[in-house]
């Protein structure tokens, strides 16, 4: 009997030790006031693209958009966000959800990357830890992507003519090292801050179940050079050589040109990973 009592005490002591040792009690402030690191001070800064796959009837999507916005505040221009409205939750429905933000490009990406739950994200379309990331993983994945060393730079020149709503684009891609593998250039048009209703179930983000005056941020409007972009060079990439691509595109009258931007990214054909991204306002 004595042995059993001793054993019981020993077990309970072990539990207490493990429980106490295995606890990190966090006191306020809970929000990290430092951070925003990565993307060193080198001439070419590694930028990161966060693609937010979303829809206007997706109730968890406003909370995800808030995380994207918080991350942009932390990383500034080093983080570029693009909201891709696609899938069931983006389907136009009865008013007030009759807006159609879907694009052929977004729909193709959704099927190519097997996105079935919303919100989902991709951070530079990286494969580390799985290509698709839930909103709770965005922050750590963005931070990890920021630590990567830049392999290429992008320069966007825009020339927008108000009279005929024509946009002339000149994009210079430059790699820092020679490369034999194939890279593609994807050019996208996005429009920011479009006001339209959005379903929501998070009272801390906005009214529930619908935020009537919701500002949809960084909405993908079209793939300028197709759904998969185009090859940067048909031959091997030469370090520090500038590869120039030019486009002339009309800006739809339904879009607010003051809020339109061009997002350009370079990705590996072999695995789809984005190596550099840049954004520029069209005006």
């Amino acid at each position: 009997m004595l042995m059993k009592i001793k054993l019981t005490i020993a077990v309970l002591t072990l539990f207490t030790v493990i429980f106490m040792a295995g606890c990190d009690k966090i006191d306020p402030p809970y929000i990290n006031e430092s951070g925003g690191g990565g993307g060193d001070d080198a001439d070419v800064v590694q930028k990161v693209l966060l693609e937010d796959y979303t829809g206007h009837t997706c109730v968890n999507c406003p909370a995800a958009a808030k995380i994207a916005s918080d991350l942009q505040k932390l990383y500034g221009e080093k983080l570029i966000v693009m909201a891709v409205h696609t899938g069931f939750f983006a389907d136009p429905m009865q008013p007030p959800f009759d807006t159609d933000f879907r694009t052929n490009t977004g729909d193709k990406w959704r099927t190519d990357f097997s996105i079935v739950s919303y919100p989902s994200g991709m951070i530079n379309r990286g494969l580390e830890g799985g290509r698709i990331a839930g909103k709770g993983q965005w922050a750590s994945r963005v931070d990890a992507a920021m630590q990567e060393t830049a392999k290429a730079s992008l320069k966007i020149e825009t020339n927008y003519t108000e009279a005929n709503r024509q946009l002339a684009l000149k994009i210079d891609s430059r790699f820092l090292q020679n490369a034999s593998e194939k890279y593609l250039l994807q050019v996208c048009l996005v429009e920011d801050s479009i006001m339209a209703p959005q379903r929501n179930n998070d009272p801390s983000v906005g009214e529930t179940p619908t935020i009537t005056e919701y500002y949809h941020r960084h909405v993908l409007r079209k793939g300028v050079n197709g759904v998969n972009g185009e090859t940067i060079s048909s031959t091997s990439i030469v370090a520090n050589e500038t590869y120039t691509h030019e486009y002339n595109i009309p800006i739809d009258v339904a879009y607010n040109a003051d809020r339109c931007s061009i997002i350009v990214f370079i990705y590996r054909e072999a695995n789809g990973e984005i190596v550099q991204v840049e954004e520029a306002h069209i005006k």
């Binding site: 009997m1 042995m3 059993k4 054993l7 019981t8 077990v11 309970l12 072990l14 539990f15 493990i18 429980f19 040792a21 295995g22 606890c23 990190d24 009690k25 966090i26 306020p28 402030p29 809970y30 929000i31 990290n32 951070g35 925003g36 690191g37 009837t57 109730v59 968890n60 909370a63 808030k66 995380i67 918080d70 991350l71 932390l74 099927t111 097997s114 079935v116 580390e128 830890g129 799985g130 698709i132 990331a133 839930g134 909103k135 709770g136 993983q137 922050a139 750590s140 963005v142 931070d143 990890a144 379903r199 929501n200 179930n201 998070d202 009272p203 801390s204 529930t208 179940p209 619908t210």
Partner: protein
């Protein structure tokens, strides 16, 4: 495959008696293949673009276990090529996700590799596999079970959990460590061995380690949960309860709030011949516990919150199943089973079974931590909550009454009525949609033609003004025991407010069973819905085509 070969060779050479290795060993296995050929069916919204080239989906597994005395080892093979519609695309792949070896004596049990485990009711730890959900949170690590004296069982586990086919590396998810101790007083103390009052006490502790790589929040890298439980039985009564507590665990599931978690589950039951009654109560507050704080889907759960609702098997009764809300719920269930005795007026020659069940789940009450912080704001404590207060917000309510009656040697029948309240906005995320209030009735009649041949007929009706409106369902099944069965069935959504969706979902099935093998072929339509097992659910999209299920074991 190379790993498997090494594993098998190790098994072979580690035993000094090569002949015993073959002669005295026992090998068991089970296999299953679920396949479906998908066809476009525009009337129910399935187009070529929906199928997107994936005309075939096949999920399959094989388990093989080798046992030699106190030693056992096993492997599990899985292939999802491509996964059936409704399963997570991350399932796509094939290989041996699980391999294990184990040595068990009366005193000690050691397992290395992948294993399943549960502490108590699972409030702080449950690793399990559920094929129909595509769910597997097995632990890859080590488990030790000690039984130092009769009545005392100590368990220790550590490892990482399965996340589809993704290998654990670079801290891409957390590490789980746990201890459990159970004391059976009646077994421990000789003089109490045969006592009418029996008491079992248990305590569990689980800790998760995951590196903080988040730039936005200061996150706890070590999160612990502790639980205590008791099971007291006296004669025909049994009382069981378990309480669990978890320290701050901000995660994608709780919107990164820092409040602690709590859960309590209690059950009081009475049982005697012909009569059984059980009352269950549950409170859950912020108790999602995952080994990756960034995950918000059905994966990497360390714990399990048991549902206390009846699991319905008839198709329309099961159309709106409850999904556990780990962020907060207060639930109760009462179940009464009574068998009206044989020979009485109501019991007749064979007796009559009556099952009465009522369950309700409400939200917990949450209040702001201060005037300027809204409830559940990320990066804050989250909210305050009075332990005993129940919110007016009802998630789910199910009242059902079932009567089963064997009328004579040829006929038997089951009749069921169900009244349902289902908060589709919370449970399925359809924000803004009105809760489903439904009445469901069904009758299931079996006619035994001969000893081997029988006919079963089901008729069901679901009546609601919400969601997809009214449904009717009918099924006719002819069985030639013990080998063949043939079924035709139809679900008709005649009350759908969208006239175009007033569709029939018909199926024709044939099945063949021989010994431990079963083959079933089904052709027809599957309506969109939700399938839940143990309160864990997955969406099932509408589909049309031919499906096959093949299973066997040895």
């Amino acid at each position: 495959m190379r790993k498997l070969l090494i594993f098998v060779l190790l098994l072979g050479f580690s035993h000094s008696y090569a002949q015993d290795f073959i002669d005295k060993a026992q090998v068991n296995g089970s296999f299953q293949i679920d396949g479906q050929y998908y066809q476009p069916d525009n009337a129910i919204g399935i187009y070529d673009s929906t199928i997107d080239g994936r005309k075939m989906g096949v999920n399959g597994f094989g388990n093989i276990t080798y046992t030699l005395g106190k030693f056992s080892a096993g492997v599990r093979y899985e292939a999802f090529l491509t996964p059936l519609a409704g399963f997570d695309p991350l399932q796509e792949g094939n290989g041996f996700p699980n391999m294990w070896a184990s040595y068990q004596t009366d005193f000690i049990g050691v397992t290395v590799g992948n294993f399943y485990e549960q502490f108590g009711n699972g409030l702080v730890l449950r690793a399990y596999e559920e094929w129909t959900l595509g769910y597997d949170n097995s632990i890859n690590g080590m488990r030790i079970v000690l039984r130092p004296t009769p009545g005392i069982t100590l368990k220790g586990v550590y490892g990482t959990q399965r996340y589809y086919w993704q290998k654990f590396e670079n801290g891409n998810r957390g590490i789980v460590r746990g201890l459990d101790a159970e004391f059976d007083l009646n077994q421990s103390i000789k003089s109490l061995n045969d006592a009418p009052v029996r008491l079992i006490l248990g305590v569990s502790g689980v800790s998760k380690y995951q590196k903080d790589k988040d730039p936005l929040f200061n996150l706890p890298e070590n999160v612990s949960a502790l639980a205590g439980r008791m099971n007291l039985s006296a004669g025909k009564f049994n009382f069981a309860t378990e309480y669990a507590y978890k320290i701050n665990d901000p995660s994608a599931m709780n919107n990164f709030i820092y409040r602690e978690g709590q859960s309590i589950l209690s059950s009081l039951s009475y049982s005697q011949k012909g009569l059984g009654a059980v009352l269950q109560l549950k409170r859950v507050d912020n108790m999602s516990f995952k080994s990756d704080r960034g995950i918000d889907g059905n994966a990497l759960d360390i714990n399990f919150i048991p549902p206390i609702n009846r699991t319905h098997s008839y198709s329309l009764a099961a159309r709106y199943p409850y999904a556990t809300q780990p962020n907060g719920e207060m639930a109760m269930q009462f179940q009464l089973n009574y068998k009206i005795p044989k020979g009485s007026v109501l019991g007749g020659k064979y007796g009559t079974g009556i099952a009465l069940n009522f369950s309700q789940v409400n939200d917990i009450v949450r209040s702001q931590v201060n005037d300027s912080t809204l409830v559940n704001t990320q990066g804050t404590f989250g909210y305050n909550s009075d332990f005993f207060k129940v919110s007016d917000h009802i998630f789910f309510r199910d009242f059902n009454l079932e009567i089963d009656k064997k009328i004579n040697q040829k006929w038997k029948a089951v009749v069921q009525y169900m009244n349902l309240y289902y908060d589709i906005a919370t449970i399925e995320g359809h924000a803004g949609e009105e809760a489903v209030k439904a009445n469901i009735g069904l009758v299931d009649i079996t006619y035994k033609i001969t000893n081997r041949n029988s006919l079963r007929f089901e008729m069901q009706g679901l009546f609601t003004e919400q969601d997809d409106g009214d449904w009717a369902a009918a099924l006719l099944e002819y069985t030639i025991a013990p080998t063949w069965f043939f079924t035709i069935a139809d679900q008709y959504n005649y009350g759908n407010p969208d006239k175009d969706m007033q569709q029939h979902y018909y199926t024709v099935s044939v099945g063949y069973v021989k010994e431990a093998s079963r083959i079933a072929l089904t052709y027809g339509r599957q309506s969109e819905g939700v399938v839940c097992v143990g309160g864990v659910c997955r969406q099932v999209p509408a589909s049309s085509g031919l499906s096959i299920t093949l299973s066997t074991s040895f």
